[in-house]
Amino acid sequence: MVENRSESYVQGPVLSRREALLAGAGTVALAALPSQSTAATGSPAKEVSPMTLTMTVNGELHVLTIDPRQSILDVLRETLDLTGTKKGCNQGACGACTVLVDGKRIVSCLTLACMHDGARIETIEGLEKDGVLHPLQEAFVAHEGLQCGFCTPGQIMSGVGCIAEGHAGSTDEIRFWMSGNICRCGAYPGIVAAVADAAGRD
């Protein structure tokens, strides 16, 4: 049924470099991996060649020299010191790092900066214009759309995207389309009210 023509094409790594020697009988060899020295694979000591690229962040052009491994999130936080964008999981599973890239909401932790040369990025720091809050920022305060505030930058950037996509027509719709942003404090009712309010004012 399924063709078997690519036996030689191994996807992913075949060796793990961490080892756990389990001693003693009765131990299940959960982690009995073949012993493999670090130096033997993947040339770990290899230097990275930095890459130079440009990025427009909140309207400001930056010419950056980065490690290709850096996510947009790490570039924002560690290179540009724009710490408003948060790292909640670094796994794409919480939404705290949401920013707009070329107008679309994405999770910046799973986005390699080196794939976005020339991109236009908007973060929470760029929403306020001349000391005036964006309507959604205002609505988050007015409707208690936050508690600890850690998920808030991601929620707001996601909310901006959600409204722009036309997915804020009803509270049910907002709940569905805002489900990529976890709020552990449970400020969801206020978040939904804030997005609905700002969408209505749009």
């Binding site: 999981c89 796994q91 505030g149 998920c151």
Partner: protein
């Protein structure tokens, strides 16, 4: 007119900082020249480190230091125990020996110039172990329970009457066991510390709910003077208890910064958040109830066992609610611990009470069906007149009012008692209720108030705000007490050098810090009035203190309109007027009353009879929490707590692989917590309650009780919907599939 800010639904004073990204959390305090540290966690659950291939990693690009037990400096680890630390046992001494006590324990720290270099090197480090099978499952036959050594804090065994005999001889009995999964706090903000030394002074920008203890503990760990350490944490991205204690990563950051002579930033990965920073212990509980045919409790037995580590005895108030919640002459409660090869658990929102009440309130619900008595009526028939365990009156107790208000708002009357009797189309509908309660704690706290010549006021306390709105509510307390508009108050927290406060947990911040701020404000007013009445040029010269009144930022003689403003008095004084205040509960009052918050929680669920999905449709909670300082914040605390309770009821569970003790779902996508689409209509109400005894502000605290009753209300609703009683949390699809 007197400005009344307490009781106003004021929006957050720090709202703007939070919606603009300007609010800075620990990991946001990047320091010039900082290096990055990444922890290497043990990959065995018990054993000894036999080898560390350090040389290869030390040569890797960007690596500045590799710190392991072999080269880490020997730390002083002077004795230090805060109230938040377990009374028995000794904290983990990090990188001080080759012993691995649990899976994920830090075994090395890589410091490098960039995060990518540090992460790469940490992954590459090869550590070998001599491993033994750990014991992590409390159900394992090898697991033994012990009587906790409470060092006099609370007794693990309490009894009145003969409960076992009473249950055995009762006309109607119930005897059931309940289980609750291990949970992790999983705040959105991972633990983070940036450490920087300047000579022998250390600054820690560190996520902490207890700054002055973090300061004291690190001082003890390093054997250095407390004054040489400053802990800074103006914002906390949620914590729910996980940042009450100071965990090994704080020590590691400070150690690394000292070793490399540069500031070091250390942020835990989400996975590491499941290892060393505490968890809600898995609990096993037995509840046996005896009752008369008309529903009067004659005997209650509640035996609960929690888990702890091998090196510390973590205790929580698992069975405490059962001692005072209902009227019954025969009650026996018992608390035990199982020592396992895991990190030490710690307090998580509603610690003890939340788990204990799941068992008790499930059992009460079960009993109500056995008796054929409405569950709320059953609770009414057992409503006590006093705390029967302590033999003291309650300072206030509005449980029945909460049930009445909640039942009305929820529409409890529409509920038909039979399980599986309510439907909406194909869906099974269930309604359940449960009691919520939590002690109204109070701890000594201090605050400082500074009246400035420009008419504004600075207020300081080493408190924290992990989300409830401490910034705002304390501003309200100061504004109200000083008779000033809140815009004139600048409340600062999050620095260990500010006046000492207790930990930011246990729902006592409002009561404790609020009372201290109130006291400081009153002291400042006393100073102001002394100045104003002693000054012959003042219109209030020689006016007796009793004739003075404060409002609109002015001090005046009662009945008069002019008076003199703070601004003028301070200006005249030539320097800011500073006053310290402290507050603690009058021990005599504490001796006289039993002090608790109470509430009633109602939940409606819809269960899909085909595929078993459980969706919460509505939650209504009614609470008696004394005075409500800010209804907007209070409601948001409550709905947030309900959402936490939904997680506890239907989603959250940290699963350990018993072969090596690893948490298998240590991932944000695998440890489920409610998302926006899960959230139903949530409604929180407060009954009018005046409690003159708890503290001067009359507040009882809210953070914990908001979560406490939700899980049993949902579990009871699931039974009502399906007829299947699930006695273990979380309740997942498979638990109701065969319903």
């Amino acid at each position: 007119m007197t400005v009344s800010t307490i009781g106003n639904p004021m929006t957050r004073v720090d709202g703007r900082a939070k919606v603009t990204g300007r609010a800075r959390y620990a990991a946001d305090f990047n320091q010039p020249g900082q290096l990055y540290a990444v922890i290497v966690s043990a990959t065995v659950g018990l054993g000894r480190i036999t080898g560390i291939q350090a040389a290869e990693v030390e040569r890797m690009p960007g690596v500045v230091a590799l710190i392991t037990h072999r080269n880490a400096e020997k730390l002083a680890y002077l004795p230090h125990k805060a109230g938040i630390d377990p009374a028995t046992g000794e904290r983990l001494h990090v990188l001080q020996d080759d012993t691995v006590r649990f899976y994920g324990q830090p075994v090395a720290l890589v410091v490098a110039d960039t995060l990518d270099h540090a992460e790469r090197a940490a992954t590459a480090l090869r550590v070998t172990y001599e491993a033994r099978p750990p014991l992590v499952d409390p159900m394992d036959p090898k697991a033994e329970s012990i009587v906790p050594d409470t060092r006099g804090r609370v007794s693990p065994d309490r009894a009145r009457g003969d409960a076992d005999k009473a249950v055995a001889g009762a006309p109607v009995t119930l005897d059931a066991t309940y289980e609750m999964a291990r949970e992790n706090h999983n705040p959105m903000e991972p633990h983070a510390t940036i450490a920087a030394w300047s000579g022998d002074r250390l600054t820690l920008w560190s996520k902490s709910q207890y700054l002055v203890n973090e300061q004291a503990e690190i001082a003890a760990v390093f054997g250095m003077p407390v004054e040489n350490i400053e802990v800074i944490c103006p914002f906390i991205g949620g914590a729910f208890g996980t940042s009450l204690r100071t965990w090994p990563h704080v020590t590691l950051a400070a150690l690394a910064a000292r070793q490399v002579g540069k500031p070091v930033k250390l942020v835990l990965t989400r996975k590491q958040m499941f290892f060393t920073t505490g968890h809600r212990p898995r609990t096993l509980q037995r509840v046996a109830l005896g009752a008369t045919n008309d529903g009067k409790l004659t005997g209650v037995v509640h035996e609960g066992t929690g888990e702890t580590s091998r090196y510390e005895q973590f205790m929580e108030a698992l069975t405490a609610v059962t001692d005072y919640l209902y009227s019954c002459p025969n009650v026996r409660t018992q608390y035990r611990l199982t020592e396992l090869d895991t990190g030490t658990p710690n307090h998580m929102r509603g610690p003890g009470e939340a788990s204990g009440i799941f068992a008790l309130e499930s059992a009460m619900d079960e009993l109500s069906y056995k008796l054929g008595i409405d569950p709320i009526e059953l609770r009414r028939r057992n409503e006590p007149e006093k705390d029967e365990a302590e033999n003291k009156p309650f300072s206030s107790r509005s449980l029945m009012q909460c049930y009445a208000l909640g039942a009305e708002r929820f529409g409890w009357a529409r509920r038909t008692p039979e399980p599986r009797s309510m439907r909406d189309g194909r869906l099974l509908i269930g309604m359940g209720a449960a009691t919520a309660t939590y002690p109204a704690f109070h701890a000594p706290a201090n605050a400082r108030v500074r009246l400035l010549a420009d008419g504004t006021v600075e207020v300081e306390a080493a408190a924290s705000d992990m989300g409830p709105g401490t910034y705002t509510s304390m501003t309200q307390v100061a504004a109200e007490t000083l008779g000033l508009p809140p815009e004139r108050i600048r409340f600062r927290l999050g620095r260990s050098s500010y006046p000492q406060t207790p930990s930011h947990g246990g729902s006592w911040t409002m009561a404790s810090v609020g009372s201290a701020i109130q006291a400081a404000c009153i002291e400042a007013q006393a100073q102001v009035s002394r100045l104003a009445t002693a000054d012959s040029a003042s219109p209030l010269y020689n006016v007796a203190a009793g004739e003075l009144e404060w409002s609109d930022g002015r001090l005046r003689r009662r009945g008069e309109t002019t008076g003199i403003s703070y601004r003028e008095i301070v200006a005249k004084a030539g320097a800011p007027i500073e006053a310290d205040g402290s507050a603690q509960r009058d021990p005599e009052v504490a001796e006289r009353y039993s002090m608790h918050s109470f509430g009633a929680v109602f939940a409606e669920v819809a269960v899909d009879p085909d595929v078993g999905t459980i969706r919460v449709r509505r939650i209504v909670g009614a609470y008696g929490i004394g005075r409500v300082v800010n209804p907007l914040l209070a409601r948001s605390q409550c709905t947030g707590g309900m959402i936490g309770g939904m997680g506890m009821a239907l989603m959250e569970r940290t699963v350990l692989d018993s072969r090596d003790g690893r948490p298998v779902n240590a991932h944000m996508a695998d440890y489920l917590m409610p998302v926006n689409l899960d959230i139903p209509e949530l409604d929180a109400h407060f009954v009018d309650e005046v409690d003159p005894h708890v503290n001067a502000l009359g507040v009882k605290g809210l953070g914990e009780i908001a979560l406490v009753g939700t899980a049993p209300a949902i579990a009871n609703a699931v039974f009502h919907a399906t007829g299947t009683r699930v006695r273990s949390l979380p309740i997942h699809i498979e638990d109701v599939l065969t319903a």
